[in-house]
């Protein structure tokens, strides 16, 4: 750098250079973000992203209106064929023996006796034609029938002031939801799909249908239900998917 150039480095020019440098650093930083697949795995970055996901749980809890109903559709809008989805392939779907099946209950529940399918089928049944939205982006409209989950929770004497309802499934899947969503009028313990007994690929003997949450929050092959104030997480949630995932 020769002397005559340095003479011309007035404070204004210096300020300009500093700003240009800052601007370029900013662009470089943005580029690094774009090219860095590993960036997401960086511990500090992951801490911030996880904290933001928890913040978004709160934001969604605040946005959730317990009385707002998901849109229902005429049966002519039902998606044919309805897609299969799970964390395994369709030919790996498990077969549950309905005759020997018992729904187990635990946690903050007064009457924890197991339920047979016949007892569950005897509860008041309702139907809904709603849109299932997958976290991947696609959606499909289906018809589910079963008992209102709020009705079931009341019958078993669940602590309705508890924070979470958790689900353990026969296919080793597990998930959990907030009590406000569990008590939503459209949240349904479903035994039937398209007016027929719930087939294995859609979750026999029962799934929890929640039209106000993404598909992966709708557990299939439910084997046990528990009520708790301790955050239970879930199969996908523990891997980074947003826990609330409300619609």
């Amino acid at each position: 750098m020769n002397k005559s150039f340095l003479v011309h480095r007035t404070p204004q020019v210096k300020r300009l250079e500093r700003r240009l440098f800052l601007g370029r650093s900013l662009s470089l930083g943005a580029l690094a973000l774009l090219s860095g697949c590993n960036l997401t795995d960086d511990a500090a970055v992951q801490r911030v992203l996880t904290a933001m996901s928890r913040w978004n749980d709160g934001a969604q809890d605040w946005l959730f209106d317990p009385k707002r109903l998901a849109p229902e559709f005429p049966e002519s809008r039902i998606t044919q064929p309805f897609p299969f989805n799970g964390y395994y392939a369709e030919d790996e779907v498990i077969e549950v023996d309905g005759g020997r099946y018992r729904l187990e209950l635990s946690g903050l529940i007064r009457d924890r006796k197991p339920w047979t399918l016949a007892e569950l089928y005897a509860l008041p049944q309702v139907s809904q034609v709603t849109r299932l939205i997958c976290v991947e982006g696609w959606s499909a409209i289906g018809k589910w029938s079963g008992v209102r989950f709020s009705e079931f929770l009341q019958r078993i004497g669940a602590d309705l002031t508890a924070k979470y309802v958790g689900f353990k499934c026969a296919d080793k899947y597990h998930t959990s939801i907030d009590m406000a969503t569990a008590l939503h009028p459209q949240t349904q313990l479903s035994f039937r799909f398209a007016d027929a007994l719930l087939p294995a690929k859609y979750g026999f003997p029962m799934k929890l249908r929640i039209p106000t949450k993404l598909g992966f929050k709708n557990p299939k092959h439910i084997a046990a239900i528990f009520v708790t104030n301790t955050y239970p997480g879930g199969y996908w949630e523990d891997q980074g998917y947003n826990w609330h995932s409300g619609s």
Binding site: G23, A30, L33, M52, R68, R131, C134, G137, S139
Partner: protein, 211 residues
């Protein structure tokens, strides 16, 4: 910061971009780049059309990571956007810089641009093609936010989703608004490369007067 210093200063410098606009511009660059790269990864999980985005252009590594980035950066993008739009409306910045917008003047200036005759003498004043492009970018970003909210909350914000043709319609709106933003930004960057003395003004806020 005051936008009323558009006139010539004694030194021969003209004020081009107010400080608020410069700061929000660069925060927006960062936020939009994150939203685009993570959004493309999310798109790839369930493509709307017969193509996917190259993994090298995506952010997050897989769907869950991309969703984390997308829903974290949305706060930066929206809060920054609120500051910018509030400033633009309240200070008269939008009115002064982006109006009037007549289709004839826009077409005329686009024609001039293709013939390489578009004047950039006074960088503090946008020509009609610039005004149209910047106004369109603001609108496209607003549509992106609205359709994004409709996809995120198709039940809680059902009224918003329903004006876009429900959830699936909102996905299409979100995609095409993204495409519009990418197109406008590419032209914008190309124009900065063609008229490079506009680039430092987005940092310093001012330019030497061309007499």
């Amino acid at each position: 910061m005051a936008d009323d210093l558009l006139g010539v200063e004694r030194s021969g410098w003209i004020k081009v971009h107010p400080l608020v606009v410069r700061i929000t511009h660069w925060i927006n660059v960062l936020a939009v780049l994150i939203m685009l790269a993570s959004g493309w990864q999310i798109y790839n999980a369930s493509p709307l059309f017969d193509f996917t985005f190259p993994p090298a252009l995506t952010l997050g590594g897989w769907l869950a990571g991309a969703l984390q980035w997308h829903f974290a950066a949305m706060w930066l993008f929206v809060l920054n956007g609120i500051v910018y739009v509030a400033y633009g409306l309240a200070s008269g910045h939008f009115r002064r810089k982006l109006l009037p917008l007549s289709p004839r003047a826009v077409l005329h200036d686009i024609g001039d641009a293709f013939r390489g005759r578009l004047a950039h003498d006074d960088l503090s004043k946008y020509n009609a093609a610039q005004r149209a492009a910047y106004a369109a970018l603001i609108v496209a970003l607003l549509v992106l936010v609205a359709s994004g909210l409709a996809i995120w909350k198709p039940v809680q914000l059902y009224w918003l989703a329903s004006v876009m043709g429900d959830y699936e319609g909102a996905r299409l709106v979100h995609f095409f608004a993204m495409a519009a933003v990418v197109l406008i930004v590419l032209v914008h960057v190309l124009m900065v490369i063609l008229v490079p003395r506009t680039f430092p003004t987005m940092f310093t806020g001012r330019a030497r007067r061309v007499s």
